[in-house]
Every structure is written in structure tokens, then in C-alpha cells.
């Protein structure tokens, strides 16, 4: 019973590390990176449809985006998992996270697009620029500059939401730690390690985002 009274068992911690790291790389990191890319692209697509498409398309997209944003991701994970039984849980997790966060990012893009001064739009008209060039050469580059920090923060927040994947049976890092704990009747080491890995990954990311933000601010 000595095992139970020890506050911290280093041997167990080292034993738990490979499992947890593997789950981190194979699931947590994979889901976060791929879903962030999906969210960043889809978010821009929603923002542009809402802004450019005629009614009722823009209205419908706007409604769907708000609907997704206002329902919990756990419900969405379960719904998608039991609706699309033919797909594995991890791809479903990636897509659900991607779509869920794209609805937040679309708001960020919208704000970024709204922040492009009226004079810029007028200059594109005065220069007879096409709609495509107006967006790709003027509006989006300027809007992105304002949105990068917010996008980075959503990526971090998504990263920390990945344990919700448990509801559809995906063993990501925290769940792997819990399983390890269950097998050894000790949870402290494995869960602590999972927490530390979260911190070690989130902190540099947030520093990176802040640096990127500064660089963009000085870019022009």
C-alpha cells in the first residue's frame, strides 16, 4: 500500500510518458492542426458567402453558422458520430471540430472585413478592379492582418477542447492518461503529465501568435 501514500511516483510517471506522448501526437496534435486548417478556410468561406451571396443563400448560411456556434460541441460530436456510422471516430472528430470552430472564425473574419476602411473599397471601384481582385488583392490581405491573433487564440482553445473527443470514444491524451491511471490504480502522475504537455504546447503557440501579431502590425 506504499504506492498509495506516496505523493508522486517518478517511476510511474516515466512509465506513463510514452502512452501519453503517443496519444498527444497521434490524436490531440493531429486533430488540432487539421481542424484548425479546416476552420480557418471554412470560416472565411462562411464570412464571404454571408457578405457576397444573394438572399436567401446568405441568410441561410448565417442562420446555420449561428446555430452551430450556439450548440455545444459535445452534442455535435455525438450527433455526427451516430449519424455517420460509416466513418471512424477520428475523422468525424476532426470535421466536427473544424466546422464548430469555423463558425467562430467566420465572425472574426467578418469583423476583419468590416474593419477595412470604406476608402479602400472606393479606391477599388475607382480603379475598376474586379470583384475577385478586390477581395484577393485588397480586402482579404488587410482583413487577415487583423484576424491572425484571434485565429491563433481559437486554435489554442480548440487544442484544449480535444478531451471532449472522449464522448465518441477517441483516446486522446487526457483519456489515455485516465486509462493508464485506471490500469495502475494511480491517476496523479498520468493526469499531471497530460496537463504539463498541454501547457508546454499551448504556451509557445501563444507566444508565437503574439509575435506574429506584432510582426503583422509592423509589416506596413
Amino acid at each position: 500500500m506504499e504506492n498509495q501514500r506516496q505523493p508522486w511516483n517518478w517511476d510511474l510517471a516515466f512509465e506513463a510518458l510514452p502512452d501519453i506522448l503517443l496519444a498527444f501526437l497521434q490524436v490531440t496534435l493531429l486533430v488540432t492542426v487539421v481542424a484548425t486548417l479546416i476552420a480557418a478556410v471554412l470560416g472565411l468561406v462562411w464570412a464571404m458567402i454571408i457578405r457576397l451571396a444573394p438572399q436567401p443563400i446568405s441568410g441561410i448560411v448565417k442562420w446555420v453558422v449561428s446555430f452551430i456556434r450556439m450548440t455545444p460541441i459535445v452534442v455535435q460530436l455525438l450527433f455526427a458520430y451516430y449519424t455517420f456510422l460509416m466513418f471512424d471516430a477520428i475523422p468525424i472528430g476532426i470535421v466536427v471540430f473544424g466546422i464548430h470552430y469555423s463558425t467562430y472564425m467566420s465572425e472574426v473574419y467578418r469583423a476583419g472585413i468590416d474593419a477595412v476602411p470604406k476608402g479602400q473599397w472606393e479606391a477599388t471601384t475607382a480603379l475598376s478592379m474586379s470583384t475577385r481582385r478586390t477581395w484577393t488583392a485588397v480586402v482579404i490581405p488587410q482583413a487577415l492582418r487583423a484576424t491572425v491573433p484571434a485565429l491563433g487564440n481559437y486554435a489554442i482553445s480548440m487544442f484544449k477542447d480535444t478531451p471532449f473527443l472522449l464522448v465518441i470514444g477517441v483516446v486522446e491524451m487526457v483519456n489515455a492518461a485516465q486509462i493508464f491511471g485506471g490500469n495502475n490504480f494511480r491517476y496523479v502522475e498520468a493526469i499531471t503529465l497530460a496537463g504539463i504537455i498541454f501547457l508546454l504546447a499551448s504556451y509557445p503557440t501563444s507566444v508565437l501568435v503574439r509575435r506574429l501579431e506584432k510582426r503583422l502590425a509592423y509589416a506596413y
Binding site: 476602411p117 476608402g119 479602400q120 472606393e122 479606391a123 471601384t125 475607382a126 480603379l127 475598376s128 478592379m129 474586379s130 481582385r133 488583392a137 485588397v138 490581405p141 488587410q142 492582418r145 506596413y220
Partner: protein, 292 residues
């Protein structure tokens, strides 16, 4: 009510250089209006900014709009640039409708494609420059020549360098607008507008946002363009000396209507309307009319 024969009668005798261009321009003046406003009305909600406005500008003519703020001068430029659309009446560019035509007694909006075609003949320089901050100076200038006029990159760049030389900014091609002073930015904006080879150039209070000591460098460039090209210019400015030097005709506006239409000499030395006299006295200072 202005009559079409007035403007052609005035000769810009004080124009240095470009005499042939001016003379060539004159052959068509009075006969070929390049901008024509027909019963134009512009209202924003209940606020009528322009009402039943009729006037025209001939090819190669330089016309300055003066008047108190809120008299609708800037709105006229914005209508010609299609940044706004008239709520009634029609505007013709070189005889073709700009945004609306009358069809069977009904006012019909043109397709965006048709509007765009006319729009490429018109350029505008804004009070706030409106350069694209995410592009370099040369990218700002070559963007539309490449993507709208279909010029090759080399061709557009060569022309842009030429224009930068003209506005005295040879060394700024690869700079970003944010690293330039207001006067330099406005010179780039002028080069950008000219790169599109516009037949009509609209100048909307182009020196109002500049420090007083920089105003002359920008006006000097515009004077030079006026002297060496035959681009039609429609100008809104508070710089009366510039208006006097560069214009063939000056229109005095008040409350969305033309109060007086005269050549600059008459307008600034012997205005006939009390409203004009009052306005000029306020801008030029008491006792200044006729002495400058």
C-alpha cells in the same frame, strides 16, 4: 442655368506649355460634352443633395466646383465615379449613359458590365489618398493596368516608373505607403490614377488632408499634368489660386444647385451673384475679390 456655348468661349491663355494639346482640345470644346448631367437628382433618404442638376463638361476642359461644404460638389464627383448612383435623371459620358438610361419613358439601370466599361475611362484622386497599404508603391500603380487593362507586367512597371518620375518619387517604387509622407502618398495616388490613362480625372479636395507646406508640391504636379495632357478634369478644391490657374470654367454651387457658371477670371474678379460674392469674400478674405 448654364448654356452649352459659354465654356468654349474662354481661352486658357495663361497656360504654359502644351499649347498644341490645348489647341487640339479646343477644336472639340463646345461641341462634344464628355460629361453631361441631365436633370440629376441625388437624395439620401429625405435629404436632397442635388436637385434637377443640369450641366456639362466638354472634352479636355478643366472645371472646378466651388461652394460651401454640403453644397453637393463632392457628391457630383462621386456620381461620376459611380461610387454613388443618382436617384433620378441621368449622367452621360461621351454621349453614353453612365448608370441609368431612359427606356420607353422609364429609368432603367445598366448592367454592372456596361457600367464597368464606362468606368475605366474615369479616374479619381481622393482626399484621403486611399492607397492600398498592403501593396508597395509600384504594386499600387500597376495593379489595375495589369489586371484590368491587361498590360504585361513589364509594360505596366515601365509606365509606372515613368509616372513616378513625373511625380518626383523615382526612389519610392518599392516603399510601402505607410513609410511615405502625406504629400508623397497623394503623389502616388495621382500616378496610380494616371496609370489607367483616364479620359476624365476627378480630383476630390486632394490637398485638404495635407500639411499647408506640402500643398504646393501636389498642386505643382497637378498643374504640370493640366499643362501637358488634355485629360478632362473635374475638380473640387478650396485652393482658389489653383482653381484660378488651372480651370477653364468655375461653377459655384449652393444647396445642390449651380449659382454661377463663369470663367475663372470673371468668377474671381467680378462675380455677379451675391451668394458667390459672399462665399468668395469668406474664402479669400475681405476686399480680396478682384485683387488676386
Amino acid at each position: 442655368m448654364p448654356t452649352p456655348t459659354d465654356p468654349g468661349a474662354t481661352t486658357p491663355g495663361d497656360r504654359a506649355g502644351g499649347a498644341t494639346a490645348a489647341a487640339a482640345g479646343h477644336a472639340t470644346r463646345g461641341t462634344a460634352p464628355i460629361i453631361e448631367f441631365r436633370d440629376v437628382e441625388k437624395r439620401f433618404g429625405d435629404n436632397v443633395v442635388l436637385k434637377d442638376l443640369n450641366f456639362h463638361v466638354n472634352k479636355g476642359e478643366r472645371v472646378t466646383l466651388i461652394g460651401p461644404s454640403g453644397s453637393g460638389k463632392t457628391t457630383i464627383l462621386r456620381l461620376v465615379m459611380t461610387l454613388e448612383e443618382a436617384t433620378d435623371g441621368m449622367i452621360l459620358i461621351d454621349g453614353d449613359p453612365l448608370t441609368h438610361r431612359i427606356e420607353g419613358g422609364k429609368r432603367v439601370r445598366l448592367s454592372n458590365k456596361e457600367i464597368k466599361k464606362t468606368r475605366t475611362r474615369i479616374g479619381m484622386v481622393f482626399q484621403q489618398f486611399n492607397l492600398f497599404p498592403n501593396m508597395t508603391v509600384i504594386q499600387n500603380i500597376t495593379e489595375s493596368p495589369i489586371h484590368v487593362l491587361g498590360q504585361s507586367k513589364d509594360e505596366a512597371r515601365a509606365k509606372a516608373k515613368d509616372l513616378l518620375h513625373k511625380v518626383g518619387l523615382d526612389d519610392k517604387a518599392d516603399a510601402h505607403p505607410s513609410s511615405l509622407s502625406g504629400g508623397q502618398q497623394q503623389r502616388v495616388a495621382i500616378a496610380r490614377a494616371l496609370a489607367m490613362d483616364p479620359e476624365i480625372l476627378l480630383l476630390d479636395e486632394v490637398t485638404s488632408a495635407l500639411d499647408p507646406e506640402i500643398v504646393d508640391e501636389v498642386l505643382g504636379i497637378l498643374r504640370n499634368i493640366a499643362d501637358t495632357t488634355d485629360i478632362t478634369m473635374l475638380i473640387v478644391t478650396h485652393e482658389m489660386q489653383f482653381a484660378r490657374d488651372v480651370s477653364d470654367r468655375v461653377l459655384m454651387f449652393d444647396g445642390g444647385a449651380i449659382v454661377e457658371d463663369a470663367d475663372p477670371h470673371t468668377m474671381f474678379t467680378a462675380p455677379t451673384h451675391d451668394r458667390t460674392k459672399k462665399f468668395l469674400r469668406a474664402v479669400l478674405g475681405e476686399g480680396q475679390i478682384g485683387t488676386r
